[in-house]
């Protein structure tokens, strides 16, 4: 069994293969020269903790040894020979596989604008990126964040809490337009403004010039900002090149079936790099989320061993902004009906019901214990296909747990 990509999907898959009883070889190949590590803290704790933190490892070398997982770090797979069942590494080595799992992840989308030589501009995807940014967001530093999505806003919250002066540039008319309904995005926006983050919506960068070690960010609105560091968070691009080169089907990511197999039955996929059909939503989706990557890694491992079990977990993700949390579960569409549940000082939740009354999604922003609990019960309702009573759902005095039965 071979796994290409040592993020959370790959690392969980390697452990799962052993846990599920596979006794043969397990080879995990990672491009970075360090143990598999958690990415969620890169935009949060790694930027704000007082002492410079090391990467938060997903698995220790002792554990890898104990499970007899061969971890090849700092190695890159450049080609798959499907007929011969081998992969070729950048250094020319060839390794045989019986079943292959692609967990190649996604990379930060780069800006396409003109960037002056020497301008300090960085995306955030790896631990090294986080360290670079961490060392630049000192008190008084001027930081421009391009992109009002999750990464951009988390970095903005972290930077301003470190004492940096932060401006967020967002091309759209509002923050978090892709994943968060407007009322919640408004709450998040207000939280950022109260914390001292400046927001400039409806504009984007035209170019970045380097001026005496600083970066001059020129916007399409005509304004300009002088920054010590420009951080770009404008989305991610799935790493599909290896799969494409091998002739595997691609459709907004490596195209998987419901068993998480690619168009080659001996090659599977999991995590940010893949799209798959979801039974609950009748469409092909690609997720960029920690929990989904973990769940898909485990599910793909089972199916590589022949479990033949469709992947039906409900999409869920979270984002921390200051001391508040945002959680989203499920997927909603334009035509679904929103039901608001106002928890007062503890936060705000919005549930989405399809035309037939079934709950299909929920999202909330507020204090972690309050939001997490409600979203978790919403997830159970979605999974069971329940049609909760709208009155009860909108009344915060009704215990949400009681709607499960």
């Amino acid at each position: 069994m071979m796994i290409v990509g040592a993020g959370i999907a790959g690392s969980v898959a390697a452990e799962s293969l052993r846990a599920e009883g596979w006794r043969g070889r397990i080879v995990l190949i990672g491009r970075e020269t360090r143990l598999p590590y958690e990415r969620p803290p890169l935009s949060k704790a790694h930027l704000t903790e007082e002492v410079e933190p090391g990467p938060k490892t997903l698995v220790t070398s002792e554990r890898l040894e104990e499970l007899d997982i061969e971890y090849l770090q700092g190695r890159e797979v450049v080609a798959i020979d499907r007929a011969a069942h081998t992969v070729k590494l950048a250094d020319g080595a060839r390794l045989a596989y019986e079943r292959l799992l692609l967990t190649t992840g996604a990379r930060a989308r780069p800006v396409s604008n003109l960037i002056g030589q020497g301008a300090r501009i960085r995306t955030l995807r790896t631990y090294d990126d986080a360290l670079f940014i961490r060392r630049a967001i000192n008190p008084g530093a001027e930081v421009v964040v391009v992109g009002g999505g999750f990464i951009g806003l988390e970095v903005a919250a972290s930077a301003v809490s470190r004492g940096a002066s932060v401006t967020v540039i967002e091309a759209g008319p509002r923050l978090l337009a892709r994943a968060v309904p407007a009322p919640l995005a408004e709450l998040i926006k207000a939280k950022h403004e109260r914390s001292g983050v400046r927001l400039e919506l409806g504009t984007t960068i035209e170019r970045v010039d380097a001026i005496e070690g600083r970066s001059k960010v020129i916007l399409t609105s005509g304004r300009a900002h002088l920054a010590d560091l420009v951080i770009v968070g404008i989305g991610a691009v799935p790493n599909v090149e290896l799969a494409r080169l091998a002739g595997l089907a691609i459709d907004n990511g490596i195209a998987l079936d419901e068993l998480l197999a690619t168009s080659d039955p001996d090659i599977f996929g999991a995590g940010d790099c893949c799209s798959f059909p979801h039974r609950l939503y009748n469409e092909r989706i690609r997720l960029e989320a920690w929990r989904s990557a973990q769940q898909q890694g485990a599910a793909a491992a089972s199916n590589m061993l022949g479990a033949h079990s469709p992947y039906e977990k409900i999409p869920w993700f979270w984002s921390d902004q200051y001391d508040q949390t945002l959680q989203v579960v499920g997927l909603h569409r334009e035509q679904d009906d929103p039901v608001i549940r106002d928890l007062g000082p503890n936060g705000l939740l919005i549930f989405y019901l399809a035309k037939d009354g079934r709950i299909v999604a929920a999202c909330g922003f507020g204090s972690l214990p309050a939001i997490a609990r409600e979203i978790r019960f919403a997830e159970m309702m979605i999974g069971r296909g329940l049609s909760p009573n709208v009155e009860a759902l909108s009344n915060p005095a009704v215990n949400i747990k009681s709607l499960l039965s």
Binding site: V12, E15, R291, Q294, L368, P369, A370, R373, R376, K401
Partner: protein, 106 residues
Amino acid sequence: MTITEEWVAACPVDAIEREEALRFDYGARTFVIVRSPEGTFHAMDGNCSHEKVHLAGGIVDGHIIECPKHFGTFDYRTGEACALPVCIDLRSYDVKVENNLVFIKL
């Protein structure tokens, strides 16, 4: 450090419904008190052993409490870690009920 154990009143019995959890802070320490589906009370250290997230916000399902943030689970009767990403057990404490109050032994 001298080891002295004492029974500390944590909450009234009716403060926690069955299959629910409650946070209890005592000095600088924090605990989670859980009432099982059968009605018995249990106590563990309050913060998840994975990251510092309080378990009182998590859901109780049977004899399992789930971390509200990353979904690691514990058997709240023993503190035993049950599901990834949690792998370190939490300390559990003796509990008794007297005069309609839940006491934990610290």
